[in-house]
């Protein structure tokens, strides 16, 4: 059967149409551009002999006479459990670390079928990151999917890099979408010490837009292979808004009717198909997903964060350089908080409540109200809490985080004021640091 065609009939945005026979839906093609470069393209619509392709490199400079070769297979990941560790690939899975292609790779179709819900288990383990605002206040649970809602300018990539370095996981997979080149270099250098357990799929802002769409699928297809081979995988995606925008671009070129602010009606399903790859497998490994979602205009009702919130199991808000303890929520934390240390949940609640009171006092103060002695204590507590707990630079194992929590409380309050149970006070209140009421 003929596999090579030389006449493109239509070019709109990143989408081209030509006439061809025997093409499978989803089939991958390679376009040989006039200047000698090539681009991959994927079949996204078939109608009689009209084949519509989304061109990964975009259609800039594509000529109607360019040669299109159909490759007879779907988009694939080159997988080899050991030799892809430490490697960096583009959105279409080609090495971009200057090293040769992966040897003895197995071809894995990306975007594979859904995990059977009947084979999932309720997760039980937490993933420690060393960051108190995560471990202590909103624990990340193995197999959880959590977004980091943020706005441009916040240090979300440094945060992800820290998690990649410190998190308890066997394999870390980074999926970069629309990354600034500097950010890519930052990830590359920062994660270098952990190379042997890290894989990166990187799409930068200067790469063709459509390649961005492939990044999560590539990362998650690899994750699935490791997870079914008994490895605990942590997938870090940044930025899912760039991914959604790329889908929007293709949808517009396809003349699809947008549902909300230009985004296609299937945005929810598309995002969910990726996030739902997070899984804890009975008798085997797991996939956990942390994903940055930048909120255009700091608006959480924007379609991307909004649809994301409906899919994920809670969210972190990264605001003013810290993880906001109020809007942030790990919906699964109660599963693991009972198993860490008996004081974990009550201490967390007490500290948050006091911090909330501190916030209220600050408001009153700013409105010119007079404040009491106890209010002064709250203010001092809030300052120390922010400096020693909320600061993203703090790096402690959970046990130490909890101990620090008690210490901070004891620096400002009496056991009564902390409103914790007698038993816990007996067991954990620092004996030497009791201050007068």
């Amino acid at each position: 059967m003929k596999r090579i065609y030389q006449h493109i009939e239509q070019i709109t945005g990143p989408v081209v149409m030509l006439r061809a026979k025997g093409i499978a839906y989803g089939e991958l093609a390679r376009i040989r551009l006039g200047d000698g470069a090539t681009s991959y393209a994927q079949t996204i619509k078939l109608r009689d002999d009209q084949v519509t392709l989304q061109v990964f490199a975009g259609s800039k400079g594509v000529s109607t006479g360019d040669e299109v070769e159909f490759l007879g297979h779907q988009v694939e990941l080159m997988y080899a459990a050991e030799s892809i560790l430490g490697r960096t690939f583009s959105g279409v899975g080609e090495p971009i670390d200057g090293r040769p292609p992966v040897q003895d790779a197995e071809k894995v179709e990306i975007g594979g079928p859904s995990f059977n819900p009947a084979r999932r288990i309720v997760p039980t383990r937490m993933i420690q990151t060393g960051i108190p605002m995560i471990d202590m206040f909103n624990s990340l649970v193995e197999s959880q999917k959590l977004p980091i809602f943020s706005v441009a300018g916040e240090p979300y990539n440094p945060l992800l890099a820290r998690i990649a370095l410190q998190a308890e996981a066997d394999v870390i997979i980074v999926g970069g979408m629309g990354l600034k080149y500097d950010d890519y270099l930052f990830f590359r250098d920062k994660l270098a010490p952990n190379k042997e357990r890290t894989i990166m799929f990187i799409h930068t802002a200067s790469d063709p837009v459509v390649e961005c769409i492939m990044v999560p699928d590539m990362a998650l297809a690899a994750a699935e292979r490791y997870a079914t081979a008994n490895r605990r995988v942590l997938v870090l995606l940044t930025d899912m808004t760039a991914f959604s925008d790329a889908m929007k671009e293709v949808a517009v070129a396809m003349e699809q009717i947008p549902a909300n602010r230009g985004y296609p009606g299937d945005l929810y399903s598309q995002l969910a198909a990726r996030y739902e790859k997070a899984v804890d497998i009975e008798g085997s490994g797991s996939i956990t997903i942390l994903a940055v979602t930048t909120m255009p205009g700091d608006d959480v009702t924007h379609p991307v964060p909004d649809n994301t919130g409906y899919i994920t199991e809670g969210q972190f808000y990264l605001k003013n350089g810290v993880i906001d303890p109020f809007g942030s929520l790990s919906r699964l934390k109660q599963i693991v908080n009972k198993r860490t240390r008996e004081d974990h949940a009550p201490l967390m609640n007490a500290m948050i409540q006091l911090y909330d009171s501190c916030r209220k006092v600050r408001q009153q103060q700013s409105m010119g109200f007079s404040i009491s002695d106890f209010d002064q204590k709250l203010l001092a507590y809030g300052e120390e809490f922010e400096r020693r707990m909320m600061d993203l630079e703090v790096n402690l194992p959970l046990q130490k985080q909890l101990d620090l929590g008690w210490e901070i409380l004891a620096n400002h309050f009496t056991p009564q004021q902390a409103a914790l149970s007698h038993r816990l006070i007996e067991a954990y209140w620092p004996k030497s640091r009791i201050v007068a009421a």
Partner: protein, 615 residues
């Protein structure tokens, strides 16, 4: 199997177009055959015809369509999209099309494999059939032929729902053990003369309501959910409908999970429609361990889970709510009270939107199809309470109650799915971001929600709780609203501007919110108090609201009412008859003792809150 009668001419996402010969039926099932790699079986992908134009039909495919080519053969069947109904549905977990997920896992492992379909009802299991009809009986659709025990229920084997007019029983099998597909009788239609062979299993098209009952009745009884704010302020009727719209994270799923445990229904069908798989797993793993206090058996025995989560094929998501409600109608035909919990109907609506877009239909608001409203209305219309047709059952009734969640974009209720749903349901439980952010769960707005059933169920509610109940609830609603209004006013003008009296009213409404309207779904006791306890708790709360505390200062009011709030919250968490229960109760009662003369002097300012709440 009939041979191919169509070929693929177009593929666009999960929509496939085919050119056919002969006749096709709208909503018929078709199979697209994928050419198999050497040595493998042909993969047949299930689809449903959703549009016919000339010689071409468009199908929504219930699977991933990758790999389909122009010219691939399509086999179009005569059958509408249907499911098998019979003993063995209870306790099972199905995908949106009725494939048992556990059995699929045994066959295909961790991942779902497209084109793998299994019968809804196991064929290797035998059921003990006991006939109740006799040869020569003239019966109609839905009349009993016999029974089999299914868990705690007597499962009625009925004359097929599709029989038109009366039929004469030609044969009935003797009592014995049979698999579901074994013939157990023959019925001849008097109208057509055709003889129907009957087994314990029927196949019914999911998009067609089962109407083999005598008549539909007006809902007249409440369906208790054991969620206090619902059962008192916004009751749901047995055979009625309710919706729960709310932004993400506001507690829709936790609410549904709680109701699925505690609702006073015989059978609960949970449709996890386009939501997280993890949430279903919680139910899946917990229910077999939980004991249903009504029956003493595992909760799973009264539950069916239809699980078409967000990463499973979108078209099957659309089918899943119909699969759920069809199973509900089936058990309703046996005189059971069935509850359908659909989470989330917005995902179903989105599936419709995706397909409508592919069909290039003229879009309505937010690109939803123009017919969205009528489909939503038709879905909720499948709820209802009915009198059964079988004369042997006397006045027996069965019911389907539907409670659906809605996930509005941006949490804004002014969107098409919420609005279309509000137009048809009897009860609106609106969740607000403000309440969930403040951790006031369930975050059902006591001010904006409504239930048409509070008035229409008055006689039944007063019989269940107490005479004068509805008026009392209305009075509490007014009291709460006024208290919150004062609170809002306070935010603007500051506390100084309020009288002690006004502040006390506000604080009492906050107390009522905290100790009655809020409920902790994760606490064993608080999650599901009995009707008796709820009625008692309401009375207790009311006596607090009506009590003249004679507070002399705002600080005193604040402090005393906070203490009381804490005692009442603790009482909520104390198990019936436990020492804590008694301890906190006497603490509460202690706070309500008539005051000595000292406090009474400033009573003028307390008159209005101390007055009996006007009924």
């Amino acid at each position: 199997m009939s041979k191919s009668n169509a070929v693929v001419v177009g593929v666009n996402g999960n929509m496939v177009s085919a050119r056919f010969t002969g006749n096709v039926r709208m909503n018929a099932v078709a199979y697209i055959a994928l050419p198999a790699p050497a040595g493998q079986d042909v993969v047949r992908l299930k689809a449903e015809i959703i549009r016919v134009r000339g010689e071409e039909c468009d199908m929504q495919v219930f699977e991933d369509t990758r790999g389909i080519r122009i010219g691939d053969p399509v086999e179009i069947t005569e059958h509408l999209l249907a499911i098998e109904l019979g003993p063995g549905l209870l306790g099972m977990v199905y995908d949106g099309l009725g494939n048992p997920l556990e059995e699929l896992a045994q066959k295909t492992g961790f991942f779902l494999k497209r084109g793998t379909y299994l019968p809804t009802l196991a064929r290797d299991r035998k059921w003990h059939f006991k006939p109740c009809a006799h040869v020569g009986d003239k019966l109609q659709a839905g009349h009993g032929l016999g029974t089999v025990p299914e868990g705690v229920f007597t499962h009625r084997i009925m004359v097929p729902f599709g029989l038109v007019g009366a039929g004469e029983v030609l044969e009935v099998a003797p009592a014995g053990e049979y698999p579901v597909d074994h013939p157990i009788g023959k019925v001849r239609s008097l109208a057509t003369g055709r003889t129907h062979e009957v087994s314990m299993m029927q196949i019914w098209p999911v998009k067609k309501p089962i109407t083999a009952y005598a008549e539909r009745l007006l809902p007249s009884r409440p369906l208790t959910t054991r969620i206090r704010i619902v059962d008192t302020f916004f009751p749901v009727a047995e055979g009625g409908t309710a919706c729960i719209p709310g932004p993400f994270g506001s507690g829709k799923t936790v609410f549904q999970q709680s109701v699925s445990r505690y609702a006073d229904a015989d059978v609960v069908i949970v449709a996890a429609c386009g939501e997280r798989a993890g949430e279903v797993v919680e139910t899946l793993r917990e229910f077999p361990e939980l004991v249903d206090p009504r029956t003493g058996r595992s909760l799973m025995e009264r539950t069916i889970i239809i699980c078409n989560t967000s990463s499973m094929p979108v078209a099957a998501r659309e089918a899943s709510v119909y699969t759920a409600v069809t199973m509900a109608e089936y058990y309703r035909q046996m005189g059971l009270r069935v509850l359908v919990l659909a989470d989330s109907t917005s995902r179903w609506a989105q599936a419709l939107r995706e397909m409508s877009g592919r069909l290039e239909e003229i879009p309505g608001e937010e690109a939803f199809p123009a017919y969205l409203g009528s489909l939503i209305a038709a879905f909720y219309e499948r709820g209802g309470i009915v009198r059964l047709a079988d004369p042997n059952l006397g006045a027996a009734q069965g019911s389907t109650t539907i409670i659906g969640t809605v996930s509005p974009a941006g949490g804004n209720f002014e969107e098409p799915v919420t609005q279309s749903t509000l137009a048809v349901v009897g009860c609106f439980l609106g969740l607000t971001y403000a309440r969930s952010y403040a951790k006031r769960f369930p975050a059902i707005s006591p001010l904006d929600s409504w239930s048409k059933y509070l008035d229409s169920l008055k006689p039944a509610l007063e019989e269940l709780y107490a005479p004068g109940w509805v008026a009392e609830v209305r009075a509490l609603q007014r009291f709460y609203r006024e208290g919150q209004r004062i609170g809002d006013q306070m935010k603007v003008v500051g506390e100084e501007e309020l009288s002690v009296d006004e502040l006390v009213h506000f604080l009492k409404s906050e107390l009522f919110d905290a100790v009655f309207l809020q409920q902790n779904a994760y606490d064993e006791v608080d999650a599901g108090p009995s009707t008796v306890r709820t009625a008692f708790a309401l009375k207790l709360a009311r006596s607090v609201l009506e009590h003249d505390f004679g507070f002399v200062s705002k600080d005193q009011a604040r402090e005393r009412l906070l203490d009381l709030t804490s005692a009442m919250r603790n009482w909520n968490l104390a198990a019936d008859g436990s020492p804590e229960y008694e301890r906190f109760l006497s603490e509460i009662r202690g706070a309500l003792l008539p005051r000595d003369g000292a406090g009474r002097k400033n009573s003028p300012s307390n008159v209005s809150t101390a007055r009996k709440i006007q009924s």
